[in-house]
């Protein structure tokens, strides 16, 4: 009881006396926890929703049979129906159709249509059955009827009975909205129609996308799957629910992890703020703790008291952070979408679940980092000798314990070693660790480097023998370098992260811009409404385009998706004319390419994106098989190209090779070069006037480039926001540590006033101290930031997203940030000094603490 009362008195007394410092600490933890928690909630909600929506398409299916290509021959269906162990099979044709009415909006104008056999689907995917009107019971079999989920009806603004225009390639199909679905997943845009009607309307006669299988009770799933896979061969993949889950999670994992790491950076900056706040508070109260030790408080009680103070700040900050995080997540989902603008989970409207376990985890992390931040200063305060600690000036002894140049050396060395290690589960775990170690090492090296720099400066000033104020400033900075380092740590941490992120994002943007210039050499690009349209442009349509006047050159391209691994998203195959002698004329090649002389005349070359090397080990010179034909054909990897458009891998090959192998004469895109004397507008008008002109999406290369960069900025908007908050927390730390340091020096200022320094001189002294410290921190932060950016650019990005980029230094932006930080730090120091010298001078020297 007595101990608890004493603890409460000490705690409340301290908080009452320094409520602003407490508030800043709570705010820092609150922001860190809120960011981490909200990003986690959004990510979890989006992935769960996407996963649930995908699962709802498979119903109670045990196994999904899918081809490596988008479609396969329906003759497999009766074959599977007769396979031993199969209780039911449901054929599905999945079509992404364009909605002409939505073509001009910012939304993707694609609608997913499932063609189902209503009698088969009733057993396996009953939720997907269409509900016809009471007077039209056979609409489920009608060739012009389509059933829409509530989200699709709302999006398309149609009601049962309305007509709906859809397109595939250049073909337009008119269907009748016949009703809703039995039970569609909330927010999912989906349409269902009879499989035969879908095949006929969308030119997919005799083709299916997948077959859902329900196995007989007692059949061993694993053994059945293995036997069937053997029987079907490499052209087919068999997937269970967990494969689909893995694929969905893999799709956005790197992006989600990167966001989480950024949020954690804010939390760590908050932890550092707590650390510096606690160190300064303990230095200020060093004699008080010594007195309590003299009066009979044990070391353990002192330690407990300080940890309790820090821990309670953590508890309050974390609780508020959870509330704010939930509100932020709800707001972000409502206004920004489930993928925060990255484009992974479009057309989803996830609800925000209450997740007590995650809340508990983030609460524990918030409290944990606060206690960790308090531990070192608390330990020092509890174990210091009370006798000397009662005398003034002993704080410099206290800080000596925090000087750990060996730790700095060790961290920097270890960071260097970690950058050489490979990713773990395709995540740059060691890269992130190296960033953390660089930060810790940089902060630990601060006292030593500050002392070295400022004492050199001091010697220079002494040699010139002028300026008491300069001598006072430099003597303080060089002799109390540990104390200076605490304020500097905040500047260093936030500025280095700011620099690293600015360099990384600028490098990425410049690389993407250069890449776009390389991959968009033509003047006009033509495609149908939907990306990777299964139908695309027919040979006749291609001829009509080629026959238009004013075209100097035309390249046709065919895009297809290939599913090479059931646990990964599909890769993109692009067939187009490629300059085999020098592929760099067509593709943005890395330096890794096979000289044409080394390629056998019979070899079919392919050029793969960097992701293919990381994910499928498609290295230059390697012979690989692709399931384009049955049996699969062998190809030679002739080189690696850089692709910022498809994170999960892309393969390019000669269009002539593709056509010869597959017989597919359709194309997805056309790139047109203008002949001299022809303007883009004239050619676009000519294209519009074609019989199928209204089904075409026409873009000039600069428009695509502009739109792509807009998308880039949109997907990085959340990154900028997180970065800004981390910087805000860092600046808060600078303000808090400067003002706390000034408080610990009130006696010193009182003495200086007594010996003749004016208030103005002291304020100037503090302003200069703040400016010099911040300048030093900014310089060091710049060096550290560049080192971190190199890790982000050359390790974290390639290991997360499987692409490399060139280094670009945004000097103007960096200079502006440095000036803003310098100004903020000097102003904060000046303002803190103003407050410190405003008080009674006599009282300041009389104070015994």
């Amino acid at each position: 009881m007595s101990a608890a009362l004493l603890s409460r008195w000490l705690l409340l007394g301290e908080w009452r006396a320094h409520r602003w410092q407490c508030l800043v600490a709570i705010l820092a933890i609150m922001l860190g926890v809120a960011l981490g928690f909200s990003v986690h909630l959004i990510n979890t909600a989006a992935v769960s929703e996407f996963s649930a929506a995908t699962k709802s398409l498979s119903g109670v299916s045990d196994l999904t049979v899918q081809a490596t290509q988008a479609t396969f021959d329906e003759s497999l269906y009766p074959q599977l129906m007769q396979t031993d162990g199969v209780a039911a099979a449901s054929p599905v044709l999945e079509i992404m159709a364009g909605v002409p009415a939505k073509a001009d909006g910012r939304d993707d104008p694609a609608l997913k249509i499932l063609g189902l056999d209503v009698f088969r689907a009733a057993t396996i995917t009953p939720d997907l059955l269409g509900i016809p009107a009471e007077d039209q019971p056979f609409d489920t079999l009608s060739e012009d009827a389509i059933f829409l989920s509530p989200a699709a009806m709302e999006w398309l603004a149609v009601r049962p009975g309305d007509a709906l225009q859809l397109s595939l390639g250049t073909k337009t199909v008119s269907l009748r909205v016949a009703g809703g679905l039995a039970r569609a997943h909330a927010g999912q845009r989906l349409a269902v129609m009879d499989v035969g009607a879908a095949q006929w309307h969308f030119d997919h006669v005799g083709l299916l996308s997948r077959i859902e299988l329900k196995l007989r009770p007692g059949v061993q799933h694993a053994a059945f799957k293995e036997a069937l896979a053997r029987e079907l061969g490499a052209a087919y993949l068999l997937m269970e629910g967990r494969d689909q889950d893995a694929r969905i999670r893999n799709m956005s994992r790197a992006y989600r992890v990167n966001l989480n790491i950024l949020a954690m950076v804010a939390l760590l900056t908050g932890a550092f703020l707590i650390f510096s706040g606690q160190v300064l508070s303990i230095i200020r109260r060093r004699a008080q703790f010594a007195l309590l030790r003299v009066l009979g408080m044990t070391r353990r009680q002192i330690l407990q008291q300080i940890l309790l103070e820090g821990g309670l700040l953590g508890v309050l900050g974390s609780l508020l952070g959870l509330l704010l995080g939930y509100a932020m997540a709800a707001g972000a989902l409502r206004f920004y979408g489930a993928d925060l603008g990255a484009g992974f989970f479009t057309s989803l409207a996830p609800s925000l679940p209450l997740n007590p376990l995650a809340a508990l985890l983030f609460f524990a992390m918030g409290v944990g980092v606060t206690i960790l931040g308090s531990l070192a200063p608390a330990w020092e305060a509890a174990h210091t000798h009370p006798g000397p600690a009662l005398k003034s000036g002993s704080e410099f002894v206290a800080l000596r314990a925090l000087r750990m140049p060996w730790l700095a050396g060790l961290c920097l060395l270890l960071a260097g070693v970690l950058t050489q290690l490979p990713p773990v589960f395709e995540l740059p775990v060691f890269g992130y660790l190296a960033v953390v170690l660089l930060l810790v090492g940089g902060i630990a090296a601060l006292p030593y480097l500050a002392s070295l720099s400022f004492s050199t400066l001091l010697r220079g000033v002494d040699a010139q023998g002028r300026g008491v104020l300069r001598t006072l400033i430099l003597a303080r900075l060089s002799n109390a370098s540990s104390l200076a380092a605490i304020a500097l740590g905040g500047v260093l941490a936030s500025f280095s992260l700011m620099v690293a992120m600015a360099i990384m994002v600028a490098s990425f943007r410049v690389s993407v811009d250069n890449w776009l210039a390389h991959v968009l050499p033509a003047d006009i690009y033509v495609r149908t409404m939907i990306h990777q349209d299964l139908r695309g442009l027919t040979p006749a349509e291609q001829q009509m385009i080629a026959a238009l006047g004013g075209i100097e050159r035309i390249d046709f391209m065919r895009s297809k998706s290939l599913l090479l691994d059931s646990a990964r998203p599909a890769v993109t195959l692009i067939a187009r004319p490629i300059d085999t002698r020098d592929p760099a004329n067509t593709l943005p090649m890395t330096s890794d390419a096979l000289p044409p002389a080394q390629m056998a005349a019979t070899a079919i070359p392919i050029w793969v994106s960097e992701a293919m090397v990381d994910l499928y080990a498609f290295e230059t010179g390697k012979k690989v098989t692709l399931p384009l034909t049955d049996p699969p054909q062998t190809f030679l990897v002739a080189g690696i190209w850089r692709d910022y458009g498809r994170q999960f891998g892309a393969i390019q090959m000669q269009l002539s090779d593709y056509r010869a192998l597959t017989g597919d004469q359709h194309v997805s895109d056309a790139a047109l070069w203008l002949a001299s004397g022809m303007t883009a507008e004239q050619l676009i008008t000519a294209l519009d006037d074609l019989p199928f002109g209204t089904s075409l999406a026409l873009s000039q290369s600069n428009q695509i480039r502009q739109r792509s960069l807009e998308l880039f900025d949109r997907s990085f908007a959340i990154t900028y926001l997180l970065e800004l908050i981390a910087i805000g927390v860092g600046l808060l730390g600078v303000a808090a540590s400067f003002s706390a340091q000034t408080l610990t020096r009130i006696k010193e200022f009182g003495m200086l006033r007594h010996i003749g320094l004016s208030r103005r001189q002291i304020r100037r002294m503090l302003g200069w101290e703040g400016g010099l410290l911040a300048g030093f921190g900014i310089t060091l932060g710049f060096v550290l930031g560049v080192a971190i950016s190199l890790i982000l650019i050359f390790i974290v990005n390639p290991q997360s997203f499987h692409w490399t980029m060139q280094l670009y230094m945004p000097w103007t932006w960096l200079s502006l940030m440095a000036l803003a930080m310098l100004g903020a730090a000097a102003m904060t120091a000046f303002a803190a000094g103003r407050r410190a010298v405003a008080g009674n001078v006599t009282q300041a020297v009389k104070e015994d603490w």
């Binding site: 007595s2 007394g13 301290e14 030790r293 009066l295």
Partner: protein
Amino acid sequence: MHDDKNKPVLELCAVSKAYANRHVLSNLSYTLAAGEYVAIMGDSGVGKSTLLNLIAGLDAPDSGDIRLNGLALTGDDDEAATALRRRFLGFIFQAFHVLPHLTLLQNVSLPLLLNGLPLERAAVMLASVGLQGREQDFPFQLSGGELQRVAIARALVHRPRLILADEPTGNLDPDTAEEILQLIRAEIKANAASAILVTHSQAAAATADKILLLDRYGLAPLTMERTP
């Protein structure tokens, strides 16, 4: 709390202490009787503060024994030394050392809380040092003399057997110093405590029962005993 009033409060037996090969105390022995109030004088650096630190268990002698109320102080057991200090000692410092964010009543209550004793005596002690009605004031509202009164009340509130006062009037003007010295003596006697006053001031030392001189040869009486 006073189990045996005749038992010596403090026994120093051949205590030696050196810092970095500089001998501060050599073979020092002294016994302080119950109720005895002695002043220790000596030149700067002779080891007066070191002696107080050793007695308080804040530092350990290199050799020799220190017994507080018959119980041995061992420097290597911080928990035990803290417990003895908490129970048997009271401190008065030159620089007052009053916690600035606690009220006067809370400051005086600290030793009671640490010893698990009832808090009622804190107000009584404040009243006895002349600060009745100021219980809820904060230290910044007090003068130096008043702050030292708070320190005296805090040193005696838990009825310790020994008070250690290190230059308690060093920061005060002569009139206030005289007043505080009389108060210290009165309160020590009223509470039947023993006390060691370390001072450079002859006038301050004169308020003690006995004045001892600490030099490199040890502790020796400086003047005749004074009658209580």
